[in-house]
Amino acid sequence: MAIKINFDGKMVVLENDGKSSVMELARKAGWHIDAKCGGRGSCASCNVLLGEGCYRVFTETIEVMPEQRREVLSCQTYVIGDCAEIFLPRSSVISFAGARIADEMDIPEHHFNPKFKTGFGVAVDIGTTTVVAALIDLQSGKIMSRESLYNQQILKADDVVSRISLCSIEGNLEALQELVIEHTLNPLIHKLCDGTGTDKNDIVHVTLSGNTVMMHIFFGVSPETIGVIPFKPVSNSFSSTARELKIDVNPDARIEDVPSISGYVGGDITSDLHVSNLWKRDGLTLLIDIGTNGEMVASLNGEMTACATAAGPAFEGAGLLHGARAASRAIDTVKYDRNLDFELTVIGDPSPMGLCGSAIIDFIADGFKCGLINAFGRYDVDLLKEKDRYENVKGMHACMLVAAELSATGESITVTEHDIAEILKAKAAIYSGLKTLLTELGKTVHEIDHIILAGGFAKHIDIKNAITIGLLPDVPIEKYEVIGNGSLAGAALALLDQSTKQAYLDIIHKPKVITLNKTAHFTSYFQEALAIPNLEEEDFPSVII
């Protein structure tokens, strides 16, 4: 007898080692369970179904009879004895297939003056979720190839703060470091070398750009101080050698980062600032990274002010009943009117399993415009019922977008009012952060001359819809500019021109970083921004007609 783990029509049989949680057993079977909270038992992203067997869930012992199923948190469940059967739902398993990753970059004009004149360099964008690497010929400056992979640290925890928390437990810092180097960067380097016929020993320089926590962990320095007041990093910049960090390139290769601005405004933003030349522009320009940390910088005739607004991962689909990462089988756009005939597009495979962030924005925007969704994010239930779109999910009103028989999961795909509320909180954090920055500068949203959107997500959203829901300011669409992966471009520039390093060290002292809690307005702006598009209707003249 043994433990049988089932997923997607396949079964793997394992022995019980007595100390692995069900989540760990599933990993051994080759399936990665989503652990958004890092296995602390507080997020329920790791749900699985237990079949016949005896288990310990938290501190309780339970027995599941044949034919019965019990839904539990896999991170808090252990098998007792050596006979059990476990079923993994699709929504709990991380799929690495078909992920949409921002790997295009626009490298601005620069002097070609690399530190190392021969051999190759690798520029890397280390994101919390994805890592993108580019191989560059240092003799010609040519970009040979680009590759990307999920940051394998997501197997331990989703967001940066959960990873910081993990580091307070012995052994986890090393484990996270190994996941990003041995299991993410090294495979990327192998792919780059194999694809171009490059000898890895010819790689002499590696530059990295990413948020401050990612950089600490990469260089093996505990980020714990960034997790508590006053959120100070151990250092703004790190460097080392490939030998020291066990990176699979020439052992003497230099490994350097793009320096960070503060604990929550990292080197990725330094890169964005450099690549977009933000502070060299006239007037009032904003740079926004619509992501989990919601970093943003405002420049008023070259004077920069920055903040981070902690929007959370809702735009990546986290915390939503049928939320999905922007990867294969995710619905990525939605369009409809009062007839509720949803026109959907799906990434890759035609049968969808959930909605990614760009689709949720579309859904709320069109819903608001046609009257399905009111300013507080609540449905017109009568309309849903009339059009046969109504579902009641765990006591919540929900709108059915895809019927069970058409979805990949065999369950209908719905958006609940609770999902909408989660998105409203995330968009409120972004909008109120930027409004607070402007207030600090004595400006209003209507005085913005230019908005630069950075980060992978921005490339895929419908900006008009983002304005309709009140995520982005209501300024003419021509004022928006979307830059590609500025973080990767910033790392590449550090390889191509050795004077870039000094430019970075200068930039990081330029922005004045403000702590939003300490401002007089943030909380009030946040609450106003919870409505669609906003309780301050004057902010959204084109939406409120």
């Binding site: 890092g38 038992g41 703060v161 928390s165 997790g227 508590v228 994010g377 009012e417 609770h418």
Partner: protein, 208 residues
């Protein structure tokens, strides 16, 4: 005074300016201040709370209503104190050390006030001593809030620090769970501002 429908609706719909205006009119018109609070505003917050527990309202709506309620309370508070309004119990609430998130905590404080408690708001970044001081000043229930997985462990320190003080400890905040409350020996947990009121009443033995 009977219920002022316009005021009740204004709180429910989160119309802050209307709330302030109507409350001011009532005060100027000589209406009993306690009645303005208890007959129109508190029922409105209670209704929002009920809708919340029936999954008919969510956090954004609740926050918007609370903000309108606060606009009215700002006008009423000084007058209520003069009038010697009798609270049903004295409690303290604060966000733990290292954490500055207070929107959820304020919402809980508001619902508790709405339910008739005297609430000592200890603010954010509270260390053990701050909670101890609140107990010395008469708080029978101490409520701890934490929004960060990095600050949640501090709740354990507070539970230890207040052991033997006689005060009950309730904990809450997005990453906190019932299991965590059991693990650190807190007296209770609840996941939202509405059930927070119930949990507080249970802790004080005024509701089953």
């Amino acid at each position: 005074m009977a219920k002022n429908e316009a005021l009740y609706e204004a709180v429910l719909k989160g119309k802050r300016k209307d709330v302030a205006e109507i409350v001011q009119q009532e005060i100027d018109g000589g209406t009993n201040v306690e009645s303005i609070l208890m007959d129109s505003m508190v029922p409105a917050m209670a209704e929002i709370g009920d809708r919340f527990s029936r999954n008919e309202a969510y956090v954004p709506e609740m926050l918007i209503a609370a903000r309108a309620m606060q606009a009215g309370l700002d006008l009423l508070d000084p007058l209520l104190q003069e009038a010697g309004h009798e609270p049903i119990g004295k409690v303290a609430i604060g966000t733990v050390k290292g954490d500055l998130h207070d929107i959820g905590k304020n919402l809980c404080a508001m619902m508790l006030k709405g339910a008739g408690f005297e609430v000592m708001d200890l603010g954010v970044d509270c260390d053990v001593d701050k909670y101890k001081e609140a107990v010395e000043n008469g708080a029978k229930v101490v409520l701890l809030s934490a929004l960060l997985t990095t600050t949640m462990p501090y709740m354990k320190e507070v539970v230890k620090g207040l052991a033997g003080s006689g005060a009950k400890i309730l904990i809450g905040g997005a990453p906190v769970t019932q299991e965590y409350a059991d693990e650190i020996g807190a007296d209770g947990y609840s996941d939202d501002a509405n059930t927070c009121v119930k949990a507080t009443k249970i802790a004080l033995g005024i509701a089953a």
